[in-house]
Amino acid sequence: MTRNTDTGDDSGDAVTDGGVAEDGQRSGFSPVAALNERFGSDFVESSQFWLPPFLLVGLFVYGAIIWNLLISLTDFTGFGTPDYSDLDLQMYSRALADSGFVDAAINTFILLVGFTLVTLALGLGLAILIDRNIRFENTFRTIYLLPMSLSFVVTAQFWAWMFNFNNGVINIVITSLGLGRVDWIGNPDIVLWAVMFALMWQFAGYAMVVFLAGLRAIPNEHYEAAKVDGASTVRMYWRVIIPQLKGSTISASVVLMVFALKAFDFLYSLVGGYRPPNGADILATKMVREAYANLNWAYASAVAITLFVMTLGIVGPYLYYQYNRGNL
C-alpha cells in the first residue's frame, strides 16, 4: 500500500519534468521521451556518460562470472573449446573429494581471518601513535604506508630474502637471541604464518590510514571528557575512542580480506611458479594452477566459483550495510 503511493509520487514528478521537455521539442510518441518518463528526466541524455562503461564492466565482470559458472558445469579440459551440452555438478563433487581443495579452503580461511586481525591490530596501534601530536608526522606516515605502493612481486622478493634459512634477517635476529634457526618457507606448519607476517608488513599502513581518518573524525571533546573523568590513556582509548571506530574497522576489514583472497601474486612470486610452498596453497593459487598449469579448466572454474561465493559472503553484507546507511 505504502509502496504504491511512493511509486505514484515518483512517476508523477517525472511526468511533469518529461512533459515540459517534450512539449517544447516534438509532439507524438518518442522512445526517448518514453524512457525519460519511466526512468527520470536525464536518463537518456546522461546515458552517453555512464552506459558504455557500465556495459564494459557488465560484460567483463558479470558476463564473465556467469560464463565461468557455465564452464564449471562442463567437463572442459585440455585444448579446444568447452562442450556446453552436458552440464552437471561433477566438478563440485570432485572438489569436495579432493584433499588438496579442502586444505586450500582451510588455508584461505586461516589466512583471511589471521591476516585481517593482525593487520587491523597493528594498523590501529600505528594510527594511535601517529595521532599523538607528534613531530614529523608526515614522514612517519609516508614510510609506514610505503610497502603498500610496492607490487606483491617486489615484496615477495624482499621476504624470500628476509625468511632465507641461512642468511635471512629473521633467522639472524633469532639466532642472536640464542634460539635455533627456523625454516620459515620450507616447514609446512609455519609457512602460512610467515606469509601472513609478510602481508601484514605490506598492508598495516593501509589499515593505519583508514583508522587515522576515523580518529581524526572523533571530536576533541570526547578526549577532553575522558580526561576530566580521570580515565587513564589506555582506558580512554579502550572505552571511549576505539568503540567509535566501528565504521573504519568494518571498511578496513572488508578491503583487507579481499587483499588476502588475492594473495596469489605474492605466493606465485615467492617461488617463481604455480606451486606455492607446501602448506601455503590457497584457493587463489590452486585455481590458477589447475587452469594454467594442468589445463583443468572446468575444475578451476569450480574452484573459482567457490572463491567468488566466499567473497560474496564477505562483501554482500558490507555493501548492504553501506547501502542502508546511504553511502552507496
Binding site: 536518463f43 564473465a64 562470472i65 589506555v234 578451476a300
Partner: protein, 314 residues
C-alpha cells in the same frame, strides 16, 4: 597492540624519568617512549627494504658471508647484479609502460564519465541504485572468478588479424597482448575509478551546475565546462592509484602474456621468475630486479604520497 605499548610505557616511566628529563628537558618520558615506538616501527617497515638494497650491491661471497643488513664492504661491492637485472628487465620496463599508461588514463577518464552520469544527472534513485551497486561490487571481485572466461574471450577475438597492419610494419606480433592488457585493465579498473570519482562528485557544490542547467546547458556541456575543470585533484588521486595497481599487477600479465620469453613480457612477469634456477637462488640479482621493477611506483609514491594515501583510504 596499543595496550602492550601503554603497559611498557608505564614501567619505563617509573624506571628512568630522571635520566631522560636531564638529557632532554621539555620532553617527558612518555614522549620519549612514544618516539621510540615510532622509530621501532619505522625500522620494522624499512628493514626488508634496506636489507634488499644492500644485498643488491653484494657479490655472491658477500651475500653468504656478511650480515644481510650490513652494507657491502670493499671487495664484496659490485654493480654487476644491477647491470644483469637491468639487462633482463629493461625491455619489461618499456612493455609495462606501454599498457600501464594508456590503461591508467582511459580508466580514469571513463571512471569520471561514469561517476558524473550517475551523480549529477536527474534520474530516479530507484533505478540508479542497482547500477551503482553492480559497479561498487565490481571493486571486490576476486579476479580468479573471471580468468577462464577471460582467456576464452581473448582466444576468440581475432586480434592478430585485425592488427595485421602493425605486424606488417615490423612490430612483433606478441604485442597484441598489450592491447588485451589495456582493455582488460580498463574494464576491471573502472569500478574503483567510478567509486573514487563518485565520492568526489557527491560533495561537489551543486550551485554552478544548477545555474548552468537553468541556462539550458546540455549535460555534455556541463561536464566539459564545469565538472571536468573542477576534477583536477581527483584525477591526480585516481591516476596515481590506478597506475600503481596496473603496474604492480601480476595475475593478468600471467594469464594474457603467459611467458616471460614473449617479446611483450611486462616487468613483473620477468621479475617473478628472476634469479631462481636449479642451481639455487641468486638473491642479489632478485633484489636488484625488485628495485628496478619498483622504481616507477616508488617515484610516483614519493612525489605524490598524499594523493596515494587519499586513494587507498577512500
Amino acid at each position: 597492540m596499543s595496550n602492550d605499548a601503554r603497559t611498557d610505557g608505564g614501567t619505563v616511566t617509573e624506571a628512568g624519568p630522571g635520566a631522560s628529563a636531564g638529557l632532554l628537558s621539555g620532553l617527558d618520558a612518555y614522549r620519549v617512549l612514544l618516539y621510540l615506538g615510532l622509530l621501532g616501527m619505522l625500522s620494522f617497515f624499512l628493514i626488508p627494504i634496506e636489507s634488499g638494497l644492500v644485498t643488491s650491491f653484494k657479490t655472491a661471497s658477500g651475500v653468504s658471508g656478511s650480515l644481510p643488513f650490513a652494507p657491502p664492504t670493499g671487495g664484496t661491492f659490485t654493480f654487476e647484479k644491477w647491470r644483469a637485472a637491468f639487462d633482463a628487465l629493461g625491455r619489461g620496463l618499456i612493455n609495462s609502460a606501454l599498457y600501464a599508461i594508456p590503461a591508467t588514463v582511459i580508466s580514469a577518464l571513463l571512471g569520471s564519465f561514469t561517476a558524473y552520469g550517475l551523480t549529477q544527472s536527474n534520474w530516479k534513485q530507484k533505478y540508479k541504485a542497482p547500477v551503482l551497486a553492480l559497479l561498487v561490487a565490481g571493486v571486490f571481485i576476486p579476479y580468479q572468478a573471471v580468468l577462464v572466461p577471460l582467456s576464452q574471450f581473448w582466444s576468440m577475438i581475432p586480434l592478430q588479424e585485425w592488427l595485421g597492419f602493425l605486424w606488417a610494419l615490423g612490430i612483433n606480433n606478441d604485442y597484441a597482448s598489450v592491447i588485451e592488457l589495456i582493455i582488460t585493465h580498463v574494464a576491471y579498473g573502472l569500478p574503483i575509478c567510478t567509486v573514487l570519482f563518485r565520492s568526489y562528485y557527491k560533495n561537489m557544490s551543486d550551485e554552478m551546475i544548477e545555474a548552468a542547467r537553468l541556462d539550458g546547458a546540455s549535460i555534455r556541456r556541463i561536464y566539459r565546462r564545469i565538472v571536468l575543470p573542477l576534477s583536477g585533484p581527483m584525477f591526480a588521486v585516481v591516476l596515481i592509484y590506478q597506475f600503481t595497481q596496473i603496474w604492480n599487477d601480476l595475475l593478468f600479465t600471467l594469464v594474457l602474456v603467459q611467458t616471460e620469453s614473449s617479446a611483450a613480457a611486462p616487468i613483473v612477469l620477468i621479475l617473478a621468475g628472476l634469479g631462481t634456477s636449479l642451481e639455487g637462488q641468486d638473491f642479489a640479482l632478485r633484489m636488484a630486479g625488485a628495485f628496478i621493477a619498483a622504481l616507477p611506483t616508488l617515484a610516483v609514491y614519493i612525489a605524490f604520497g598524499e594523493e596515494f594515501a587519499e586513494g587507498v583510504a577512500t
